[in-house]
């Protein structure tokens, strides 16, 4: 049913740490690898070796540049996938019921057998989280690796989304936001986890941890300075002798 559940039992999602992501794209291809082989149809790549290769990806890493009013510009790598919104506009626009939000964990999924490929859900998503596969004509999106996180054929420690498992820097965290004690809830609270485009009113589940404040050794001109131990090389040797005696 295209209606959103009034409430979900869990709120599974990701915390993405913008202070730690180095923009390596590991999550992008790990996601592609898992999800092309698993849930639903393959993630196709068209003109794969040609002049205009276009493939379906469920997770993409942008890089932004921020220019503060004072000081050096900053580069921020920015992975983006479905945020599994509480008020997911992509779900309610779906004419067939193919898009839905799971009541047990809040994951937003597409039932590909019911998808007519009208693309309206992708239009409704502010975040660019949905891509219509050009070969299969069905809408693809992040499943939060629903076929990993409960998968009894995987060791327990591997029951996390492929992007989280592979992230070399540990910039991606998976957990249940409905549990205030969960790793993701705590990180969000401690680090001021934020919503993307909150004015859209989508109430994303995934949170982004902002980068820490940078370039403070430049900004703070009162930084402690080192004092010379002597005025001359001779003085330095005297200091050395004295210091060595004390060792």
């Amino acid at each position: 049913m295209t209606s959103l559940p009034d409430q979900t039992e869990k709120k599974l999602g990701l915390v993405i740490d913008l202070d730690t992501c180095v923009g390596c794209h590991a999550c992008v291809t790990a996601c592609k690898g898992w999800n092309t082989e698993n849930y639903g149809v393959a993630l196709s790549d068209n003109d794969a070796y040609g002049s205009d290769p276009v493939g379906t990806f469920l997770n993409r890493v942008h890089a932004f540049e921020v220019q503060p009013s004072n000081g050096a510009a900053q580069t921020i790598h920015f992975p983006k996938s479905c945020l599994h919104c509480d008020d997911a506009p992509c779900v309610t626009v779906c004419p067939t019921g193919a898009s839905y939000k799971r009541v047990e964990d809040g994951i937003v999924l597409v039932d590909e057998d019911a998808c007519i490929g009208c693309g309206l859900c992708a239009w409704a998503c502010p975040y660019g989280a949905r891509e219509l596969d050009q070969s299969a004509g069905v809408m693809k999106k992040c499943t939060l690796c629903v076929d990993r996180i409960y998968n009894e054929n995987l060791p327990e420690e591997d029951r996390v989304p492929a992007c989280v498992r592979t992230c070399p820097a540990g910039a991606r965290h998976f957990g249940d936001f409905s549990d205030p004690e969960s790793n993701v809830s705590r990180l969000t609270a401690e680090r001021g986890g934020m919503d993307l485009m909150p004015e859209q009113g989508t109430r994303p589940v995934n949170k982004y941890l902002p980068p820490r404040v940078k370039d403070r050794l430049t900004a703070d001109k009162s930084a402690p300075q080192l004092k010379p131990v002597a005025d001359s090389p001779k003085g330095f040797l005297a200091w050395l002798d004295k210091t060595l005696e004390a060792l």
Partner: protein, 291 residues
């Protein structure tokens, strides 16, 4: 948004078709027999042709029937129901008019209401999208409905109504453009809000996630030059509003003048609808520093 021919053809033709059906449903003109046959044939060709065109936009049109299931929440589903209902009701009405020379007035009125509702539902598919600020406004249904009814009136050769509606639709169209130009900014969507990084400074895309293009960019990011757009607006307005008014007002009424007015209307409305999509900026473009 990508101005896909399928959706342009769909909204323009089915808008005109249902607009015409609405006029036929309220008996303006009250046609029967062969005249009715031709009138309904044109109306159905437009409405159904438009709907068929819309399926070219689908990735899996063979499952289109599933689109009827979510009328409670989805405007697309509602449009499916309303369009089919309108076509069925007006089909019965037409059948009686063509073969029995009888105008079943209550049925016609119901059909007319359903036809207008269909156009409205179509417009709401766009108007509901908060992600496209230009569309996400009450002017969008007003724009599409008035334009469709005006077109229908021209096709129905309802000179007076057509003149009035053309003036109204033209005015709404202008308003839609002018107010629409401001809407993205009014909503406050910026790369800063999209990334949450606005508190540290001005944000700009440095590297896109992939050097090539992708579905999102092809579908939702279409950059149209401002000068080009203004030119097209002028052409659209001239063709779908001013020219039909002039034709209807100055030329003697008849099949020739109505045909000419409809052709002008169609050409202008195609241009207008192309702009409707091409100028509509999706917020996802903010992640690509493109709108």
């Amino acid at each position: 948004m990508h101005p896909a021919p399928s959706v342009i053809v769909f909204t323009v033709l089915s808008g005109l078709g249902f607009g015409f059906l609405a006029w036929l449903g309220i008996g303006q003109p009250a046609v029967t027999g062969w005249t009715a046959f031709f009138c309904f044939a044109i109306a159905y060709a437009l409405a159904v042709g438009g709907l068929v065109a819309s399926t070219f936009h689908l990735g899996n049109p063979q499952r289109a029937l599933k689109a009827f299931s979510q009328w409670r929440s989805s405007w697309l589903s509602r449009e499916a129901w309303l369009s089919v209902s309108a076509l069925l009701v007006m089909g019965l009405y037409a059948f009686a008019a063509v073969f029995f020379d009888r105008l079943l007035v209550p049925l016609g009125v119901l059909g007319a209401v359903l036809s207008v509702a269909t156009i409205y539902a179509t417009s709401m598919i766009y108007a509901q999208l908060a992600t496209v600020p230009r569309w996400n406004h009450w002017l969008t249904p007003l724009h599409m409905v008035t334009l469709a009814l005006a077109g229908g009136a021209v096709l129905a050769a309802q000179s007076m109504a057509a003149l009035v509606l053309l003036v109204v639709a033209g005015g709404v169209q202008l308003l839609y453009w002018v107010l629409g130009d401001r809407r993205f900014a009014e909503r406050g969507h910026t790369t800063e809000t999209a990334t949450g990084l606005g508190d540290r400074g001005k944000v700009r895309l440095f590297e896109p996630p992939h050097t090539g293009t992708n579905y999102l960019l092809k579908e939702m990011v279409y950059v149209v030059g401002r000068k080009h757009a203004q030119k097209l607006r002028a052409i659209a307005f001239l063709l779908n509003c001013l020219l039909p008014i002039v034709i209807i007002a100055l030329l003697p009424a008849g099949v020739f003048s109505a045909g000419l007015a409809v052709l002008a209307y169609l050409a202008g409305t195609f241009a207008s609808r192309w702009l409707f999509f091409a100028e509509a900026e999706h917020v996802v473009g903010l992640y690509y520093s493109q709108r």
